[in-house]
């Protein structure tokens, strides 16, 4: 039993103990990485590549700095982290240096050393951390840095990219929030941690995100796509161009204005050129113009992907309809609307052929409403096309639904 009691120390020398500790630390730091898609990091990368000011909103300690380190490594930029809350405003607006004759020569505002180094390097990633716990005067000085890229008399070169981080309003100790004009200049990204990633990382395997690469071949196409997407939506929905946030809940967040739409256009082009997924684009767009307008833009992008009704009417036999029911229904509705817009016998026939094709390749209930609308568009002298026989299944289905409606006490409305 005595052997288990702590034996008298055999006078180990201090360096030996520290060596053991170093060994233990080395074991702890011995982690591997595995590739894992990370849409947050991908969105951040695209926004930084697009040279738009990004504001990461996230609770302290969830890996914002780690993400920035990875981003800097992948963009091959040296990372400079500035903890805003431990600085004074003069660190960002410049320290006054009194010369021999201030009245004659003025008082130059000297920049801090990190800024000088950054300007000398000519490129780098500047990370302004803890923006929300800095006193208001420091924040005011920082915003000039973010928006005008000026520190005292220095101007940051264009190859320097700036990312800021702030704690959410609810957990910020002194509740800083952005005024609407400032909020409008940022791409707001909500930074959250993924439970699985954290657990697996602590177990020794951290994720390694594969970051998007811009494809030089796709640049003109990307710009064209982005312009069509934004202009198409804003032409149809003029009210979305400018909408100041109203209400307390939406303060400090993104909102639509011509400036933020321009940022959106830029981000769509970058995401397209990088071949990023819609999930990444969704984060970026919603973080720039807000949830409502952002989702409308994404919905209209989905519709841009749908086949053109005129092309379908021109060649119904070769039509490829979307697999997903709701999109397919949107296409069929679009075709019927196109016929309504320019009713001609040949177009009407082509629409019937298209409906018959839809019935053969997918769920029949989708066809019922477009078919009845199309039937109502019939003009005098138009003969019922042969294709309509193939719609018998849909008619039977519709009758069956009518009977169910009658049993559940709904008056059957004609025409639907």
């Amino acid at each position: 039993m005595l052997s288990h009691a702590p034996s008298a120390p055999s006078a180990p020398s201090a360096p030996a103990q520290l060596d053991v500790a170093a060994g233990l630390l080395a074991l702890l730091r011995d982690t591997t990485t595995e590739p894992r898609p990370d849409i947050q990091l991908e969105a951040l990368t695209l926004a930084v590549a697009a040279d738009l000011p990004v504001l990461l909103w996230g609770e302290p300690g969830i890996g914002k700095t780690a993400a920035l380190t990875q981003l800097a490594a992948s963009l091959d930029l040296p990372l400079t982290t500035v903890i805003a809350s431990v600085h004074e405003p003069s660190d960002f607006s410049g320290l006054p240096i009194v010369g021999d004759d201030p009245a004659e020569q003025g008082v130059p505002m000297a920049p801090p050393d990190w800024a000088v180094r950054l300007v000398r390097a000519g490129r780098g990633l500047l990370f302004l951390d803890e923006l929300s716990t800095a006193p208001p005067a420091v924040q005011a000085a920082l915003l000039r840095l973010v928006l005008e890229r000026r520190i005292g008399a220095l101007r940051l070169p264009p190859e320097v990219r700036i990312v800021a981080a702030a704690n959410p309003r609810s957990s910020a100790a002194d509740g800083w929030e952005l005024s609407p004009p400032l909020a409008n200049r940022f791409v707001h990204l909500q930074w959250t941690h993924d439970h699985d990633v954290v657990v697996r990382g602590l177990g020794g395997t951290w994720p390694r995100a594969t970051l998007p690469r811009l494809d030089p071949e796709r640049l003109p196409e990307a710009v064209d796509f982005a312009r069509r997407a934004v202009c198409g939506l804003l032409a149809a929905r003029p009210k979305l161009v400018h909408r100041l946030p109203s209400g307390e809940t939406r303060r400090g967040g993104p909102w639509p204005s011509p400036r933020s739409w321009e940022m959106t256009l830029c981000l769509i082009a970058f995401a397209t050129a990088a071949g990023s997924s819609r999930d990444v684009l969704s984060l970026l767009v919603r973080g720039t113009v807000g949830d409502g307008p952002g989702l409308e833009l994404l919905a209209s992008l989905d519709r841009m992907d749908l086949p053109d009704p005129e092309a379908l009417l021109a060649d119904p036999a070769a039509a490829v309809l979307p697999e997903r029911g709701d999109l397919r229904q949107a296409v069929l509705d679009g075709v019927v609307e196109a016929v309504r817009g320019r009713p001609e016998k040949s177009r009407w026939d082509a629409a019937w052929a298209l409906l018959a094709r839809a019935l053969e390749t997918g769920a029949p209930d989708l066809v019922v409403v477009p078919a009845s609308t199309l039937a109502a568009l019939r003009r005098e002298g138009w003969e019922v096309p042969a294709a309509i026989d193939r719609l018998a299944g849909a008619v039977a289905l519709s009758r069956r639904a009518d009977r169910a409606a009658a049993r559940s006490g709904v008056p059957v409305t004609a025409g639907r």
């Binding site: 409502g292 209930d365 639904a401």
Partner: protein
Amino acid sequence: MTAVTLDLDKLYSARLHAVRVRPYLATALFALHVVESRRVPTMAVDRHWRCYVSPGFVDRTPVEELAAVWVHEVSHLLRDHHGRGDRAAREHGLTGPGERLRMNIAADFEINDDAYGDGLVRPEGAVQPKAVGLREGELMEEYLTQFGLGPRTQHMAWLDCGSGADGLEREWDLGPDGAHGLSEQERDAVRFRVAQGITGRPGNTPSGWKRWAQEVYHPPQPWRELLGAAVRSATSGSGAGDDYTYSRPSRRSAGVPGAVLPSLRRRPPRVSVVIDTSGSVSDAELGSALLEVTAISRAVGGRRDLVTVVPCDASARIAHPLCRAEGIPLLGGGGTDLRTGFATALRSAPRPDVIVVLTDGQTPWPGTRPPCRTVVGLFPRTGRRRSWDEDGDYVPDAPPAWARVVEIG
């Protein structure tokens, strides 16, 4: 028992019926992808918007009931019951299949209280909050805290709406990589289109769906946080709280001889709380809001003696420092005129940095902007839930634009 084949025509007829009686759900119903499965008891959904259907269930269920089940299942997905279930599980440490069953039941309560009727029959065995003695019209999270599994929920034990309803993966789930699943962005887009359809044409949509459509992309934040943020931002703005001042030299001045640098100084904010003591605000509401304001102002460095309280009805009484708050006579009743409350608060010396007004909004407001920041905590009017635009007879003035307004409760 011979295996029945899935009667797709019957299933789609039911969906057509559901779309006809609930046109605003059409996008969502059509977005569901049907998967035949013999392992699900009835119909079930997963979080990727696949709908698993038992052929036997379709065979023995009438079309109109199937339509109701369609609507029920799609409601789970639209209302994000799996995501909310996961969050509830994390927050309250709920684990195990029993708890997931409770989530499924609570989610069903949320859906079922206003899903049926108006052309949709109630499916046999649709569980109701009334069955376990609970009120209608609440949310899944609220129901979750109110009942346990027991004899009264015995008949609900067969209930299984799949992982889309409670977040627990089932053995029949095709998972995120399976065919025809919707990505997160696509799910958001479908939800958004449905919500847009409802807010665009509210018509006779049930109130539960209207509320969902309003809140799906702008969930209401807890008023305590909003009020806290408003008061904090008002008290920490320039002129109050921690900031730099040139009134004392900075410690760094020694290093820059000849230059004048500002130093960090704290000037604790003075907060004046004007309380509407007219009859329409209940004591409990006032008490909780007042506690909240004092807690917030203390957190931002306001000392207790810098918070004053001005009870106000038609004529404001004198301002009381908060250290005697326990004894403040919240007299009143009858009409309110907050203008006198503002005047009293501003007359006190030294002048407050922030005025926080707690009121139900039934009052005239000052015509000009007061010379300090103003936060208005607005109580909902008694007897109704934040619906003062629906009331025709008297519409009070809205709080002025220069005040930051937080709705309380």
